[in-house]
Amino acid sequence: MNIHLRRAFYLFAAGFVALVGMLIYWQVYARESLANNPNNGLQTRRSIEAPRGLILAGDGKTVLARSEGHKTDGGPVYERIYPQGAAFSNVIGYWSVRYGASGIEIAENSNLSGVTSDPATLDDLINQVRGGRQPGNNVELTLDPELQRIAYDELGQTVTGRGSAMAIDPKTGEILALVTSPSYDPNNLDDDFPELIQDPAAPLLDRATQSLYPPGSTFKLITSSAALKAGVRPSDKFFDPGYLDTPGYRVFNYQGKDYGELTFAEALAFSVNVIFAKIAINEVGPQLLYDTARDFGYGDPYDDFILPVTGSGLGYPPDQWVEGNTAQIAFGQDRVSSNVFEMGLVTATVANDGVMMEPRLVREVRSPDGIIIDRPAQSIRRRSLDAGTANTLNDMMQGVITTGQLTQAEVPGVEVAGKTGTAEAPPREPHSWFVSFAPADDPQIAVAVMVENGGEISAEGDAATPSIPIAQDLMEEYLKRGDR
């Protein structure tokens, strides 16, 4: 009888082993696909049952996103509140049970949601073991709430109300403002979303990072860099008859002006397309212009940046350029496409002696009780220009303000370096661009502003474009606070 007893036991034991195998199947092998099954409501429940961490602005005080609990029958349910509303929503994003998530909310989700993160501190571990609903970590951004607010408000007050802006600390790579207009109020997303995706003004689109526009004359910073590398000196003289004929294409200056004999520096200050086209064709050549643009980040998809970025580009490889292409690319037309994110980085790179710092939006991550969990270090992304060339270009950009008499861009007490752009976007009005940094001798802030179809064709010239006063306000506000 005993042998049969043993056999029966082996049968039971085999059954128990099979059960463990079944558990392994569900809990390890099929876990991921079950978690993502549309019939599985557990993840959604989890996301609203645990408070997410705070998102704070760079001052460490301004709350950009917080979770507010409500008592319900099934325990507390948390709702995401965005006290600053639409001004920050392109960066912060939204966190919706119905429509998913975007921006910092999804990029930093592992920090913000306490549940999915691995324990980083002893308190976390104890919390996790005891199974409590641990609140998520707090994420502090680099954004300056004041600058973000000013840029958002002023972009909204322009002729079209559509545009974008970026401000960045050129020495550290910390992004001080990253603004798009129009934007949306993330607080009512679940109700508004169906309308927002239909809206022709595309408020859900982050124009600062994801749209592409011709950069117009702001691209002359890159052409100038290439020219300086090719041996052109700022004092070298060029003649502008008011037009330049290339096979199949005639270049004109903005508003059809002709300037006669000018130095290279003056050509930048007055933004003379004819001379830039000449220099690009005769002195620089397609390959060097292309390489220089690449050195400044054209063609870089910025996949490692925390927000999705649409990379800027020149349209086609240099061996396909005919003279007409080279001429137009020299002043940022043809198929050159960019946004304030890229042009802000270009400007900051010139300001920082030709060194592009890694652009950063997250300053640090702290646990709810204040322990620092992550603090990304500043780092160099690429060396785009040698310091000598960068300083020469810096001087020329100061000339844009002084020689070009851009009084609107001046900041009391400091030298400003800048470049305008009026990018043709037929059949509509041109886009108004302005990039700048200040103080020119010790740059602390670099700015790129673009107002979509905001350029006015007026007798006063470039100075009337609406992006300049916005950039000026950002620089003045930032610099007036004193020692930084």
């Binding site: 049969h4 036991f9 039971f12 099979a18 079950l34 978690a35």
Partner: protein, 434 residues
């Protein structure tokens, strides 16, 4: 087989206490979990001391396992029902049932040490079992979720089948021990399978078929499965004839097909098992929620109180293992399965060491019942087999189930006491033997 199990006992109680301590954080209330923990530790440790005192030679290692499983169940029931809006607090009731179960076990230990007497009343056991099951067909019985399993006896409601199956196991053990030699001898063969004499096989088949039939009409699928499988396994062990297993398997296949065709509720269960995705919000809902929660636990679990297994209907009874897997993860759930396996192992060992056939068969029958019940319900909630409503021994909420499981353990203890004492006496010099 004399055992001391003080250390495992203390470990089991510490684990349970840790579980209750965790509930302090989860429920954000300091005293109730501690009161439950202290009460539980007191009850089970007293039970342990009682067993050590009255059954010094028994395989008392069973008790730490009972302590661990019952404690885990109480923590889970507390977590699922205590102080939660819209949910009746079942933790107190379960705590009372654990006390009643402990009392029942002590009663067995004190008054059924000479359990062989029970075999003399084996036909009475059959009558008692049938009487219990038939009670559900009287006006006292009532239906829950479409199955008529319950009897309302004024102050308490209970599930007679939980006790009927212990009575029937006693009958089968007694009868088979008596007739195993004649039943093993074959008289004729049918299609190459040698069949036993009707004369001896008859009563077994009658009781077997009768109890099975009643339960099927009760729509108690889980119990039907146990009532089918356990006597078959006992028959196999008693006679050593594989023919019974083959015959039984054929019968099982035939019976399954018949019930599938005859009863809607069986069809629903099988369809929900085969393709729960077809009706994820109705018939497939329960099993899908169970799987989602099990998967949600992953390797180490969500942590006690951090899972969402309250989304599973009937989670505190049939589906309590899903909560364990969800909140304690693969690691915790495997540990629990291991505890069930150890219980099964000790039970088998008690059967192996028992001195006489009837004791062997009884110990094996009870162990097989325990093991099959565990396999059937865990297999059901993990979608390994179709779901049949049945409780997880010791862990699930339910008075009849808890008390029944404690009685089962008590019987195993008295069986092990006898062989343990005999072994101890053999070690003594002859003049000291009583």
């Amino acid at each position: 087989m004399t055992q001391r199990a003080t250390t495992p006992m203390i470990l089991a109680l510490l684990i349970t206490t840790l579980g209750f301590a965790t509930m302090i954080f989860v429920q954000e209330a300091a005293s109730p979990p501690l009161i439950y923990g202290a009460y539980y530790a007191g009850t089970l440790f007293t039970l342990y001391l009682g067993i050590r005192l009255w059954l010094p030679h028994s395989d008392v290692l069973l008790l730490p396992i009972v302590t661990l499983l019952t404690g885990l169940g109480l923590v889970m029931i507390f977590r699922l029902t205590y102080n939660i809006e819209g949910v009746e607090n079942l933790a107190t009731t379960q705590a009372i049932w654990i006390l009643v179960g402990s009392g029942a076990m002590l009663f067995i230990v004190l008054f059924f040490r000479n359990y062989s007497q029970l075999f003399n009343y084996k036909y009475l056991m059959v009558i008692a079992a049938f009487g219990l099951i038939l009670m559900t067909f009287t006006p006292l019985g009532y239906e829950v979720n479409g199955a008529r399993l319950w009897v309302d006896l004024g102050p308490v409601n209970f599930q007679p089948s939980e006790f009927a199956r212990i009575a029937l196991t006693i009958f089968f053990a007694g009868y088979l021990a008596e007739k195993r030699d004649v039943m093993a001898a074959t008289s004729r063969s049918f299609m190459g399978i040698q069949l036993p004499a009707i004369k001896y096989f008859g009563p077994v088949a009658l009781v077997w078929a009768g109890s099975l039939g009643l339960l099927i009409f009760e729509k108690d699928l889980g119990s039907s499965l146990l009532f089918f499988a356990v006597p078959l396994l006992m028959l196999y062990v008693a006679t050593g004839r594989t023919a019974y297993v083959i015959l039984g398997s054929l019968l099982f296949a035939f019976g399954s097909l018949l019930t599938f065709l005859l009863f809607d509720h069986v069809q629903v269960r099988v369809e929900a098992w085969l393709d729960p995705w077809e009706e994820p919000d109705s018939t497939g809902f329960q099993i899908l929620q169970s799987i989602f929660n099990i998967a949600d636990g992953g390797l180490t679990g969500t942590g006690l109180g951090a899972g969402f297994s309250q989304t599973i209907p009937e989670v505190q009874t049939d589906f309590i293992f899903s909560t364990v897997a969800s909140e304690l993860g693969l690691v915790g759930a495997t540990a629990v399965i291991l505890a069930f396996l150890i219980f099964t192992y000790r039970g088998t060992k008690i059967a192996l060491l028992a001195g006489d056939d009837a004791s062997k068969l009884l110990a094996f029958g009870l162990t097989a019942m325990f093991a099959m019940q565990t396999l059937v319900i865990i297999g059901g909630v993990t979608k390994a087999i179709p779901l049949t409503g049945i409780t997880l021994p010791f862990v699930s909420y339910g008075g009849s189930s808890v008390v029944g499981s404690f009685i089962l353990t008590g019987l195993l203890l008295v069986i092990s006491e006898r062989s343990g004492r005999r072994e101890a006496e053999e070690l003594l010099p002859p003049e000291d033997r009583p």
